[in-house]
């Protein structure tokens, strides 16, 4: 790559990125306040990073704001949930032949600067999926008590299943290579997908690593999770993990 690099961020000058088509998948549900700044931050971080916003049936003009910022916007006809929205993004990545896909939440909680750290294991060929964790060695993050217990419970359970230490099963800040894109485009959990995808990746013999990253508190909007949803979350994910143990998974074919 022979770019006239002066103020360009480190990303653009990394020779490993030459010819590597990379996509930021930004799922957004009613994030009209935050979406434009998320897009401009991503652009500032890496001008060659292509961006697709998956608008999951927002009612507040999220899609319009994103389109105005000049990125591709995939508008789902109604809200299908984060799992279906993310899978749509991976199908977009697959159909457009991307080599690297990075999930970045539309609410601004993921700092684009951390993408450098996030994609490092993939560029090094050490992993098929890289997950940004808020716990392993990174700056301290202390969620509310109930949430912390839930996260730790699933972290233990998942660590046991995948026989590898996993600290943050709920992080949606992830990057995958072509194999990961192919897998997720074909198979992705319906709702609350983060925990299950970790196991899914293991089951398909893909390699996963966690890297410590700092995350921000939500810059706009608010978390939409109610008590009832938290209970449903715990039950649904536990059930899916348990039943998943008895499923036979074929290893993903190359290609």
């Amino acid at each position: 790559m022979t770019e006239p690099v002066t103020t360009a961020p480190r990303e653009a000058s990394d020779p490993r990125l030459a010819g590597l088509r990379r996509l930021a998948i930004v799922p957004a549900y009613n994030e009209a306040e935050a979406i434009a700044s998320v897009i401009s931050e991503l652009r500032a971080f890496d001008p060659e990073l292509e961006i697709v916003v998956i608008d999951d049936g927002s009612m507040d003009g999220t899609a319009g704001r994103a389109a105005k910022a000049g990125v591709d916007v995939v508008r789902l006809p109604f809200n299908i949930g984060i799992g279906g929205a993310m899978q749509t993004g991976y199908q977009y990545a697959r159909d457009h032949g991307f080599d690297l896909a990075i999930q970045v939440d539309g609410d601004g909680q993921h700092d684009p600067q951390e993408i450098t750290t996030l994609i490092e294991p993939i560029l090094e060929g050490e992993a098929d999926m890289s997950v940004g964790t808020r716990f392993a060695g990174g700056p301290r993050y202390r969620p509310p008590f109930a949430r912390r217990v839930g996260i730790q419970l699933f972290a233990r359970f998942v660590s046991l299943i995948v026989r590898q230490r996993v600290t943050d099963t709920t992080s949606g800040f992830r990057a995958v290579n072509r194999r990961g894109i192919a897998l997720f485009a074909a198979d992705y959990p319906h709702d609350y997908p983060e925990v299950e995808t970790t196991v899914l990746v293991h089951r398909h013999k893909l390699r996963m690593v966690e890297v410590p990253v700092a995350m921000r508190t939500r810059s706009a909007g608010r978390s939409s999770i109610t008590l009832f949803q938290s209970i449903y979350y715990m039950i649904k994910v536990s059930l899916a993990l348990f039943v998943g143990l008895f499923r036979r998974h074929s290893t993903l074919e190359e290609g």
Binding site: P77, H190, I235, K236, L239, A240, V243, F246
Partner: protein
Amino acid sequence: MTVRVSIFAAIAALILLAVIFELIRSRRLHERYAILWLITGGVILVLAVWRDALGKLSHTVGIAYPPSALFVLASLFILVVLLHYSTVISKLADQNRILAQRLSLLENDLREARGGTDGR
């Protein structure tokens, strides 16, 4: 013979739970829709085995023959499941309508973009 009824109810509940499990495993039933069924099967199983609780429960609501209470409860759960499904069907019908609308508008746009006048 209430013992026999209990055994029968327990076996029925176990079969129900096994069928639900297999349906989830083979991906013919989403976890989302399985939870109510699992609760139903679980409660029937617990009450069938734990007969003291069933006796107290039937006494409280004034049912002379405890196993009847078990089946009353089972019917109640089935009602809840059916009601839940009515809401699910309503949502699906809405989504189906939206999909049909989006698809037909899209077809129209596509025809216009192609500049065709035949309209198939």
